[in-house]
């Protein structure tokens, strides 16, 4: 059974939802602590949402230098699947594992809703069970989800098929409607919406989020 680690920073909110989603998807959830420098032998890592370190300085900027992040960066460089959700996406950008940055939403409002997304790439460790072009519904909840990158970076992301998700109906002003991206290798994925909240009909309006957590298990089995 795949062991999937979920990192808790001070101020993380959605670690328990992420651990639960991992379990619902049939994998073994492993809690990881920010101040530890051990990944406990996990096969994949999730950086969950929330407000790590109170979002002081910039979202994700302080978490990026937490002791465990050194291990996460090394593991990501060696090809381990890493998923950053919302604040976790911001941490991945601050860590330079992903390109670009998020600023405050264009309308200056905190947005909380079920959001339609288009899967632009299934060539990643976390999206391989989706069909390219598939539309899914995933919970979105953030105040700073407005994706920015300089024109060269944006061009490169588009050319290399590194845009993984696009908003259908841009909620926050993100450039090119980008909701999530991946690195060149396709093992690190970050997105603002929350797949771990869309795993049961009772609370999520869809169960499309489960596919993230089954995708990574199929990837791990296929490459074992």
């Amino acid at each position: 059974m795949s062991r999937i680690g979920v990192v808790t920073f001070p101020g993380t909110l959605d670690d328990h939802d992420a651990l639960r989603a991992v379990k619902l998807a049939g994998a073994d959830p492993v809690p990881l602590w920010h101040a530890s420098d051990s990944l406990n032998g996990v096969d994949a890592i999730i950086l969950p949402g929330g407000f790590s370190y109170g979002d002081y300085l910039r979202c994700g900027a302080i978490a990026r230098f937490a002791p465990i992040m050194g291990e996460v960066i090394t593991a990501a460089g060696a090809g381990m699947p890493v998923l950053g959700i919302c604040n976790g996406f911001q941490v991945l950008c601050e860590s330079h594992l992903l390109e670009g940055a998020m600023i405050r939403n264009e309308g200056r409002k905190f947005i909380c809703r079920h959001q339609r997304l288009r899967v632009e790439s299934n060539d990643t460790t976390w999206t391989c069970d989706f069909a390219e072009g598939q539309e899914i519904i995933i919970v979105l909840k953030n105040g700073e989800g407005n994706f920015r990158a300089d024109p060269d970076t944006l061009h490169k992301l588009e050319e290399n098929n590194q845009v993984v998700f696009r908003y259908v109906g841009n909620p926050n002003g993100s450039l090119n409607d980008i909701a999530g991206i991946t690195n060149e290798r396709g093992n690190v994925v970050g997105l603002m919406p929350h797949p771990e909240h869309s795993v049961e009909m009772l609370t999520g309006e869809s169960r499309d989020g489960l596919v993230f957590f089954t995708s990574v298990q199929h990837f791990l089995v296929a490459t074992a």
Partner: protein, 81 residues
Amino acid sequence: MTLVVVDVMPKPEILDPQGKAVTSSLHRLGYQGLEVRQGRRFEITVNGDLTDERMAEIREAAEKLLCNTVIETFDVRVEKQ
């Protein structure tokens, strides 16, 4: 005591929603013709002499932590020596 100030500002081409909110509030209060961009100011107290190496170190720290150069620019200056 030496005080070094690091100013961090959103890049000119980056939308500044906070600055826009402050600007429209100023307009509502009757202050016309003023446009605000909002950044951050860090005051850093330096123990010991402010050598060139020390300044270089502060610049490095600013680039590494205080500023995200994807969306912001920064300026380092000596405020009080």
